[in-house]
Subunit: 388 residues, 2 copies
């Protein structure tokens, strides 16, 4: 082991001091976050020159429009500390605020981008978030693959989850198409949504059928996520054209055709599901209605149902008629989930009235909370076991 | 478009103020880094309360063991600025130092982890780094897939690049096994190494043959990268057992067998290459020597050749004899690359003497610089066109 030890010594030394060699700038050596056995969490930041350090986390109640935060306490060693109360099982996001400047925890390398914001994450287990963990169960394969979209005259990128055993089976599988929200992309559900972990775990527990999950990029003006197309490393924004003007929905058959031509999947309506969050819920609603013989399962997670007659697209015409056709075709599940404090609550309420008036059967799942990934992971876990 | 505009307004407002809704905290609205047409770059950070802000980037000469840095200038608006000289084409890493605290650029969401350090990146094109860009060329597929390693009694994770057209072809492809350095994992070559982009671009230019690139995890004590196994979100370290004690090399046939049983690949020596950086160069050296009929192409990128007779493993026994066998078997390329200021230079020099003494033919590529990803990307670009 001496040679190994020798190299480790050299590299450890280098990593603390120089970036002329590998492993830039070195890591600080504090433990943060430290998750205690009782599910309290201690955060630490070495910032001897700072005057004020706050911790802001998505488990803290927000005060009106201001995100919740708590002052950290400085000790003589220049380290700021805070220990939380007991936290329930969840995947949490947090940041430090050092003299008014938001920064990540330098001792935590696990960060996830949500649109243009990168936050640190940690997970409290022994509860529902165990489904978001990588557990010792068979794992599916996650592929980033490019496909041709003639409708958008573009090659585009998608993320595809194939279940454990897919590659060595002759079986055909059903498919869930899973759509992101505004500002998101084909990385959103796999990163923030923990889709691969949720699917692996639900399948291992016998709660979900093995299926493909196809996570597309719903911004049809772009080929791929920021950094993953010829546009290079740019900062993502919410403001993208053609996201809610019918173009995405009209060209969605390009995706289905690609999957059905390239994967060993079942190609009938009974074996196709579509679901999405926020804008992706809007897309799922319209795609499933506009192509009313395509999907047997529909999931609207905090859907951005914002009817507007000024948008000119064939997709949004004949809303009531196509919804009626969808109802008459029959489908096994039309699932709607929304949080009580979601800013879209009222729009969903109005849509439910419409459905009620036409006796369109649906399953309604109202939860605490708002327009959050916490809810969307929960909704996925509720929705997926009911498929196929 | 009104409904789209409406949702954007709501979400933009939320994103600046609240994380009771979609977890955003809001992004600052500066442009940083701003890459000018003349390849100078302006960095900006809004930090009105800070007393001193420095910029540290891997294009700056380091002073001894101290990474290079430059003071940023504060203007009345509380924004700190720095504009670089003209930079040559490269993928660069950088960080800010605010009152002694390293932090990322809040306006840049493109960050890459190198072992336990996360840095911001940006790319200067119109030169060699155009190979690291996503260009408008056919793209291969990148899959994260689990395989069984009986030799390690473990399911393990790997990253597999299949070239454009693989899925719709009946052709069999050659395979490059590409190994990371100490502290790295199956994410290193795809993230820092830009392997998918380099391969897509070299193949599109007709400079490389279509091939699979298999990026394994060379730390056989672990199943997968930090955050990707049942160990959860932990901070990576250099200190891992069984990295240079023969175990990794001895069990490497598990990888080859998995690939050859599961992919449409050519299975003869002429169609197998192995290369690695630092510890991965050490691994490539030993695997190709210990299994001397397996690889026709070997690449040692800044290899950590640290002979030590105290390590007891069958893999490291009979070094000279197996090297002789490898030579006698003949191989089309034995490629060694190292930077003039690499701390491993002397070890590589000694190894070259050994090879010279036994008339072992090899191609030697000496470059400027040290033990850096800049060099390893260059080496990959030099090496790959010579394969198959």
């Amino acid at each position: 082991m001496k040679n190994c030890f020798y190299l480790m010594m050299i590299l450890s030394l280098l990593s603390m001091t120089s970036h002329a060699q590998q492993a830039l700038w070195g890591g600080p050596n504090l433990v943060s976050p430290e998750i205690h056995d009782n599910n309290t969490v201690t955060f630490r930041l070495q910032a001897p020159q700072a005057s004020e350090v706050k911790l802001s986390g998505d488990w803290m109640p927000s005060e009106g429009w201001t995100p919740g935060s708590v002052a950290m306490e400085k000790t003589e060693d220049g380290i700021w500390r805070h220990t939380t109360d007991v936290l329930s099982s969840e995947l949490y996001s947090y940041s430090f605020w050092v003299d008014g400047l938001r920064m990540p925890d330098p001792n935590n390398v696990h960060r996830i981008r949500d649109v243009a914001t990168v936050t640190d994450v940690f997970l409290i287990g022994n509860g529902k978030a165990d489904l978001y963990r990588v557990n010792d169960v068979p794992h599916g394969t996650v592929a980033r693959r490019w496909y041709d979209s003639p409708g958008n005259e573009m090659n585009r990128r998608m993320t595809i989850y194939t279940p454990p055993g897919y590659e060595n089976s002759k079986e055909k599988y059903p498919v869930l198409y899973l759509l992101h929200g505004m500002g998101g992309d084909e990385e959103a559900w796999i990163a923030l949504g923990r889709t691969a972990q949720i699917m692996d775990n639900l399948i291992a527990q016998g709660k979900a059928k093995p299926m493909l999950v196809v996570m597309t990029n719903g911004n049809v003006a772009q080929q791929a996520a920021p950094g993953e197309s010829a546009k290079g490393f740019y900062k993502p924004t919410m403001q993208l054209p053609h996201t809610m003007d019918g173009q995405m929905e009209a060209t969605f058959p390009d995706v289905i055709q690609f999957i059905e031509n390239n994967y060993r999947v079942k190609t009938d309506r009974k074996n196709r599901a579509i679901a999405g969050l926020s804008m992706g819920g809007f897309h799922s609603l319209h795609i499933s209605r506009y192509y009313p013989e395509t999907f047997n399962y529909v999931g609207l997670f905090s859907p951005a149902i914002l009817p507007d007659e000024n948008v000119k697209s064939q997709v949004y015409e004949n809303f009531d008629e196509t919804l009626k056709t969808q109802k008459e075709n029959g489908l096994d599940l039309y699932w709607i989930g929304i949080g009580k404090t979601d800013f879209l609550y009222k729009f969903v309420e109005d849509y439910r009235k419409k459905l009620d008036e036409m006796d369109f059967p649906y399953q309604y799942h109202e939860t605490e909370g708002g327009h959050t990934w916490t809810n969307w992971r929960d909704y996925l876990v509720e929705f997926v076991p009911q498929l196929f």
